[in-house]
């Protein structure tokens, strides 16, 4: 089995996945509840938090699977992109475990991990397909040609889609996580009430910062009472603009790449309007859309392992 470890951002996660892509255990120690309490601000954004959690999370993963380290054939870990200190905690834990058991280590790119969440059981997707990766930190269109080859067709020029949702929620005075709050409120609103601009950038790239400014101006022009009345319409119109941008570009990318299947991964894949607008799209289960380690272990099935002891020199990277 493959032991996956992920510590690139806020989540400390570990998972055990078989060679066939069956998840035996996947544990995520999330700070989402803490986020909610602090309105989106993380009480302490530090690698120390990962350091406290990484060993218990690995132990719990083995416990849930009823396995021991004897069952682990190799260790997969996120090498980047992410916050350097956070990545280093996971990487050091992976190196130490691999070293102590003389196991090979597989460094995995976080974005490959998101794509590989689609290769897990019970319904693994086979490439080729067009993949929309949309989360708080990333918004990308990938032409996935095989398990090992992908081409970046488009990306955001400024804010990620998930970030646009969260900052929009903040402008509307909603709670955290913003995407979910906007989605919920939008059910009661009119998506055509406000014509928010969808930025026209060349090619298959995205831009969401103009949209955020348009929402700010709309909110600024309303009084407190009026805002309360129009909040649902604003949320619905704002969400509609984000989703339209994602859908239009995704469909155009699929057309250009000649792909008839579209997959969505990342936290934004949970958005109900996005799912309704791309009804044929394949979406991973929600627990695999947000950061987790099962996807990292899954990606390792197609990534060349580094043999003992060469991986001791591996370094994390913040960005590529």
């Amino acid at each position: 089995m493959i032991l996956g470890i992920e510590t690139s951002c806020d989540e400390t996660a570990a998972a055990l996945v078989t060679e066939e892509g069956e998840i035996r255990a996947s544990v995520v120690a999330s700070q989402a509840e803490l986020h909610a309490r602090y309105g989106g601000v993380v009480p302490e954004v530090a690698s120390r938090r990962h350091l406290e959690l990484v060993t218990p999370v690995i132990r719990e993963t083995l416990g849930v699977a009823g396995a021991t380290l004897d069952d682990v054939d190799r260790i997969a870990v996120t090498q980047g992109p992410g916050l350097i200190g956070a990545l280093l905690v996971g990487l050091a834990a992976a190196k130490a475990l691999a070293w102590s058991r003389r196991l090979p280590l597989v460094p995995v790119d976080h974005l490959d991990g998101h794509v590989a969440s689609l290769y897990l059981q019970p319904e693994p997707l086979e490439p080729p397909f067009l993949c929309l990766l949309a989360s708080g930190g990333h918004t990308m269109l990938l032409d996935v040609r095989s398990h090992t080859e992908r081409e970046l067709l488009g990306t955001t020029l400024d804010d990620a889609a998930g970030e646009a949702f969260d900052k929009g929620a903040r402008l509307l005075g909603l709670g955290y996580p913003g995407g979910r709050e906007i989605d919920r409120l939008a059910q009661d609103g009119d998506p055509a009430a406000y014509a928010f601009p969808v930025a026209r950038v060349p090619g298959l790239d995205f831009s969401f910062s103009g949209l955020k400014t348009a929402l700010l101006y709309a909110v600024r022009d309303l009084g407190e009472e009026e805002l309360a009345e129009r909040r649902a319409d604003l949320a619905a119109s704002y969400q509609h603009a984000i989703v339209r941008a994602l859908v239009e570009r995704t469909q155009e990318a699929a057309r250009q790449a000649g792909r008839d299947r579209i997959a969505i991964v990342g936290g934004v894949a949970a958005n109900s309007e996005l799912r309704a607008s791309l009804p044929a799209a394949i979406a991973a289960p929600l627990s695999l859309c947000t950061d987790n380690a099962a996807m990292i272990a899954s990606a390792a099935r197609w990534t060349e392992p580094v043999a003992y002891p060469r991986y001791l020199a591996l370094d994390a990277y913040a960005s590529r």
Partner: protein, 136 residues
């Protein structure tokens, strides 16, 4: 002194001008409310410094590190922070080493982050932006 800009391109041009005065080790704080053009400003400076990677918002990722023509450029965002604890400073410190560092939402890092060489303040002004660049 405040300069009014009417487009992202004009904001980027101001930033490019500032970039010419920066050296490794310099810190530039970039403040302003949501949508006031902070990332746009940093992008303008980065492009002028020869960065060819996409310069995007680091709100969720906290820190980006770019390769300029002759210098490394760090791009940080403390939007999700409430103050900066010693442990958090330990994570942020490497981004200030051997680089020009731009910090969005620097307020949470006051008294902890290295002193800035320039403080940039942006605000909405009509449909444009008012940009103030202070030498510290």
């Amino acid at each position: 002194m405040e300069t009014l800009t009417q487009s992202p391109e004009e904001t980027e041009a101001l930033a490019a001008d500032l970039a010419g005065r920066l050296a490794v080790g310099d810190v530039v704080t970039v403040s302003g409310e949501l949508g006031s053009g902070k990332t746009t400003f940093v992008r303008g400076a980065c492009v002028a410094l020869g960065v060819r990677e996409r310069v995007t918002s680091p709100t969720y990722t906290i820190g980006h590190r770019y390769h300029g023509r002759a210098v490394e450029v760090s791009h940080l965002d403390l939007y999700r922070f409430e103050g900066v604890s010693p442990a958090e400073w330990g994570d942020l410190e490497p981004y200030f080493e051997d680089a020009i560092a731009f910090v969005e939402w620097p307020e949470a890092g006051e008294g902890v982050l290295p002193s800035p060489r320039y403080a940039v303040r942006l605000r909405h002004a009509g449909d444009g932006r008012a940009v103030e660049i202070l030498e510290c």
